[in-house]
Amino acid sequence: MAYNVLIVDDSPGMRKVIRKMLGQSGFVTASCLEAGDGLEALAVLSKERVDIVFTDINMPNMNGEELMEQISIKPECKHLLVIVVSTDRSEERMQRMMALGAKGYVTKPFVPRTLGYALTKLTARSV
């Protein structure tokens, strides 16, 4: 199955790295969209079909936690699988994001296989 992916991070370089690693991991994407913050992400989600969201936490305008809160209350976003990709590896933050509905959590820095493994785990559970 090919997935529609949205990468949300205020760093263009990090978005490029995640996009490349998705390709290298063998994960099949039908489309790979990008957003620079939570507000842009919501705009994309309102217009495009997305299955999986990778989101950073610390971003301007709307951060990843606020984005998760918005996603959790929108019925049209109920199907989304969200993986957090963040420098924050504290238990406090991880628990908060999982409580908001995140299905995976990858801490930066990461090696390519970490992203691939998180995706495999996520998509196996969703089948």
């Binding site: 205020d10 760093s11 263009p12 370089g13 990090m14 490029k16 790295v17 490349k20 610390n58 971003m59 301007p60 963040s86 420098t87 924050d88 590896r89 504290s90 238990e91 406090e92 933050r93 908060r96 801490t107 930066k108 820095p109 990461f110 090696v111």
Partner: protein, 153 residues
């Protein structure tokens, strides 16, 4: 936390990020003066952080090292990179190294990082809190890191 305890954590954070994201391996401490670069040429990133501690963090690298880091990070040829891309990568590295450092300092507590900016608060005398600095040698030059802690809860 005393300044003397932060330096090994800085070393760990720099090594962790550069090895994982850039396949580069810092080679011990050095000084920028030894490496022979003028501060005006450095490519910099800095940000503010808050949580159980608040303050500022930054990194600076000479131009050749910055281009090498950015090329490795993005998986592109050095000749294909723009100065904007190089600066953005250094800012993202600032974000990741700071995140790793704060996680080593306080594993349980969440923190908030401001978006990194391509600036450099270099003046030790102008520091608004306790400041720790450390420079690590790279094949292509060095990476200078600094941490200023203003408040602790």
């Amino acid at each position: 936390m005393q300044a003397v305890n932060v330096k090994p954590l800085m070393s760990d954070a720099v090594a962790e990020v550069l090895e994982a994201m850039c396949f580069m391996f810092p080679d011990g401490e050095t000084t920028a003066a030894e490496a022979g670069y003028s501060e005006r040429e450095w490519i910099c990133g800095e940000l503010d952080f808050s949580g159980s501690e608040s303050g500022k963090f930054g990194i600076a690298v000479p131009p050749l090292a910055a281009v090498a880091i950015a090329a490795n990070f993005l998986g592109d040829d050095e000749s294909d990179l723009t100065s904007k891309q190089v600066s953005e990568v250094i800012c993202e590295l600032t974000n990741m190294i700071c995140g790793s450092l704060l996680a080593h300092m306080n594993p349980k507590n969440a923190f908030t990082l401001s978006p990194p900016r391509p600036e450099f608060s270099s003046t030790v005398n102008g520091a608004q809190g306790e400041r720790t600095e450390c420079t690590f040698a790279l094949d292509e030059g060095f990476i200078y890191t600094w941490l200023e802690i203003r408040d602790r809860i």
